[in-house]
């Protein structure tokens, strides 16, 4: 494997294992269509340049924005800036970089951009999930004074930094939908009027709400039990008790200061517990503490359901490629299709309830195995599935990670066997492999207006 640093038409690229990485020095180095490269390595010491490039790439639409983007480790940048990239790399170790890029690209390849990306909520949801899925990482917000709510989000804030609250709300929606989960990181308190986080906390008089208040020590004269604010005891430059006229000499011996009390210079009210108010620097709104908007900032990660959401798009838009040979032991694809069509006719005629379904999962480890190994795994999986099927059920195994089944006279919603299949396959994978994604199962109840070809493509 040859690592070449080539200069062709002012473009520099790195090549390894047949994959080409683009090296970018200036913003202008970035071509319109960078999708042809396996990844981009930014080689600059300018924070401004890196930010421009990162912004330009990550603000693109769809998966184009998620291309592997590395930074030459020779230069140091703030963590928050690096959080938008795929990290620092040693530019001489092209193999390593390429390996990283392939890993990301492979997962990106499983994702197909949804059609309604122009809808803001879909865009933010898709990019968040795709970013999390392809990088297998957490979305960890970082503190920033530039953000209105005090926190920035990797990648998301790049194209919508002004609306951190909007991003937060979108994340909350995704979390409620079960697409992502979060672990607690922080609470932020925001102005009830403008959601700003730049607040001035101050103690105010509970009576007139003026901030012109002043704390005074209380003095307790032990011998006569007189207690009053320090001002009452002040006589010239020394302290003297107004009750017994004795001079106070030694704190802890003849007097002490058991507490303090506030005096309001505006209304002369005296009190020990001032109210706390948060004044917004942005809109000048005075918030009481209970009025502040409390938001939870979390570290987000994608859930099985979130992956399902991404992979659904994946399977729905893939070209038909069911021209595989017959499965190892079971029936061939044409036969499976034929049987399914016949079952559909039966459903249309008799009104019986039958189910067509698929099982799929992703695993990078198996992907690198040789074809014999893969075949063995496929057979093992098939055996497990078959053990839960009845004589009339049909199974077609397309690959080690994709199976179709037909269950005549069976409704998926009350079929415990399916859950057992999913559970046992998941267990087999997690017990034997370190790096597994959940087993995803789709089912569909056949209706007379269905088209089998279409169904098999979308399941």
């Amino acid at each position: 494997m040859l690592n070449v640093l080539r200069n062709n038409e002012t473009k520099q690229t790195l090549t390894a294992q047949g994959h080409e990485l683009l090296v970018v020095y200036r913003t202008s180095d970035l071509p319109k269509d960078w999708a042809q490269y396996a990844g981009i390595v930014v080689n600059t010491d300018s924070e401004k340049t890196l930010l421009e490039i990162v912004k330009k790439v990550r603000c693109e639409q769809g998966t184009l924005s998620l291309i592997p983007l590395f930074v030459n480790e020779l230069h140091t940048f703030q963590e928050e800036l690096l959080s938008h990239t795929d990290g620092k790399v040693h530019i001489a170790q092209v193999d390593t970089i390429v390996k990283k890029a392939i890993k990301i690209n492979k997962r990106l390849g499983q994702i197909i951009t949804p059609l309604n990306l122009s809808v803001y909520e879909v865009q933010i949801q898709f990019k968040t999930l795709a970013f999390l899925y392809s990088r297998k990482r957490l979305l960890t917000p970082f503190t920033s004074r530039k953000s209105k709510i005090g926190y920035y989000f990797p990648m998301l804030s790049l194209w919508n930094g002004d609306d951190s609250l909007g991003i937060l709300k979108a994340l909350e929606t995704m979390q409620h939908g079960g697409l992502i989960t979060s672990t607690f990181k922080d609470h932020v308190h925001l102005c009830k009027n403008c959601s700003g986080n730049y607040l001035n906390f101050k103690e105010i008089c509970p009576s007139c709400h003026d901030a012109d208040i002043q704390a005074r020590d209380m003095i307790h004269h032990f011998v006569c039990a007189h207690v009053a604010p320090e001002d009452d005891f002040k006589k010239g430059d020394h302290l003297s008790c107004p009750k017994c006229d004795k001079k106070l000499r030694h704190i802890g011996i003849d007097y002490d200061k058991p507490s303090a009390i506030f005096l309001c210079n505006s209304c002369t009210n005296e009190f020990q517990n001032p109210q706390i108010q948060a004044a917004c620097f942005d809109c000048e709104k005075e918030n009481s503490l209970s009025e502040l908007l409390q938001k939870t900032i979390g570290e987000y990660s994608i859930t099985a359901k979130g992956e399902q959401w991404l992979l659904n798009y994946h399977t729905s838009l893939k070209e038909e490629k069911h021209s595989h040979p017959a499965s190892l032991k079971g029936i061939s694809f044409p036969i499976f299709k034929l049987m399914a069509r016949q079952e559909l006719k039966r459903v249309a005629a008799t009104g019986t309830q039958s189910t067509l379904g698929s099982i799929a999962f992703q695993n990078d480890e198996i992907e690198f195995f040789n074809s014999d190994m893969k075949a063995a795994i496929q057979a093992e999986m098939e055996k497990i599935i078959q053990s839960y099927l009845t004589d009339v059920d049909l199974l077609y195994s397309e690959a080690y990670n994709k199976f179709y089944f037909l269950l005549p006279d069976t409704l998926a919603s009350n079929c415990e066997r399916l859950e057992q299949i999913r559970y046992n396959l998941s267990k087999l994978l997690t017990d034997n492999l370190t790096d597994t994604m959940p087993v995803v199962m789709h089912t569909h109840q056949l209706k007379k207006e269905d088209e089998i070809d279409l169904l098999l493509n979308t399941l």
Binding site: M218, H220, F222, V223, C224, A225, H226, V227, A228, P229, D232, K243, C244, G252, I253, D254, D256, P258, S259, I261, E270, F271, Q272, N273
Partner: protein, 436 residues
Amino acid sequence: MLEQIIPEYLNYWSAVGLQKFIRVFWYFVLFEFTRYIMIDYVVYTIFTLTRKKRKARFEKARQALFNENPFVSIIIPGKNEGKHLYKLTKSLAEQTFTNFELIIVDDGSDDDTPTIGKNLEKLGLIDMFIRNEMRGGKASAANLALRFSKGKYIVHLDADCSFDRDAIENILIPFFMDNRIAAVGGNVKVRNYKESLCTKLQAIEYLKTVSVGRIVTSYLGIYKIISGAFGAFKKEATDAIGGWDIGPGLDGDITVKIRKSGYKVYFEPSAVCLTNAPSKFKILTKQRLRWDKSIIRFRLRKHKDVYFPNANFNWATFFSLSENVFYNVILDILWWIYIIDICFNYSGSLQFIIPMNFTLYFVMNYVQMLSISFFSERSKEERFLWPYVIFMTLYTGTYLRIVRTCAYYKEFFFKRSFEDPWNPYKSSVQAKRAGL
């Protein structure tokens, strides 16, 4: 056996003439009978005869009170009283007199009192909640409340008390009867009198000494202790004397101080407050030791000047303190002398004398209970206590007397009250050094 003893007993006493009877029971005849039976009934007779006049005077003062509607500060100093505060604010919200502020002083509580207090202040149920992180003792806490009071009158309460609906109104009325009255004591009764024998006996005792005793002494102008649980003061008078001094016994002390500065002190039986008495004798003993020590400390030591003719001499103050000292300290000593006298001179007749003594006290206690029911505004409920009056001879005659003697001995010879943890050490050291 019994058939022999009773005739013999009756024979013995019928053969004894009145002279010898008085000689043997001189203590009872001279002190107990005159004080608790004679004076009570004389005062009750006068009270009945003047009822109409007194009622009219009280009504007139009530009108004056509501015409002026003065601003009143209710102050409640205490430690770890948070659990009582909510109930207390509810009890006060029911009062017929409403123009008051509520000031709570938390004297270094180590429970959740600060949280409760701050919350009630925020909710507006308390006007001012002041917390001292370091405990300073009851007097300093009361003084702190006094410093921030804005009222013309100060009403001092204990947090665990509850009040009749007209209690605040009634405790303020005497100020409008006589301008020279600067302090009014409320009528404190035992709320938990059904809880145990200990609380029942205290309930009877409170009725006797606190209720009736104070009506009588107040009438005679020698009323001496305004209870800390429920007392009202003119702000100008408390300010003039610098508020409370270090206790224990600060209730009696401030009463004397107010008297000394030329004001009158009054007891108002219709201002009723209920409090919880200790339900175990062990705790009661501790409480009484503290109270009894303070008589020596304050009446005999700190305020000894009232017994000598000087510029400030006042007969009422002199009698007030003298009566107090006489009926407590002197009579206590005389009682022991009496015991010795009887044991020494009549050692052969003790089997007749002791039962007779009990009989006399037994009869006296019930006669006295009858006079109490004449005075009391809730005599019906108090009939519950009548069967227990039988124990009073043992309770006041023996138990309380022994406790008192212990207290006097410890205080007189060792000034033990300065070591009482009731006050923080820092204050006690200074008070002892200053000879207070």
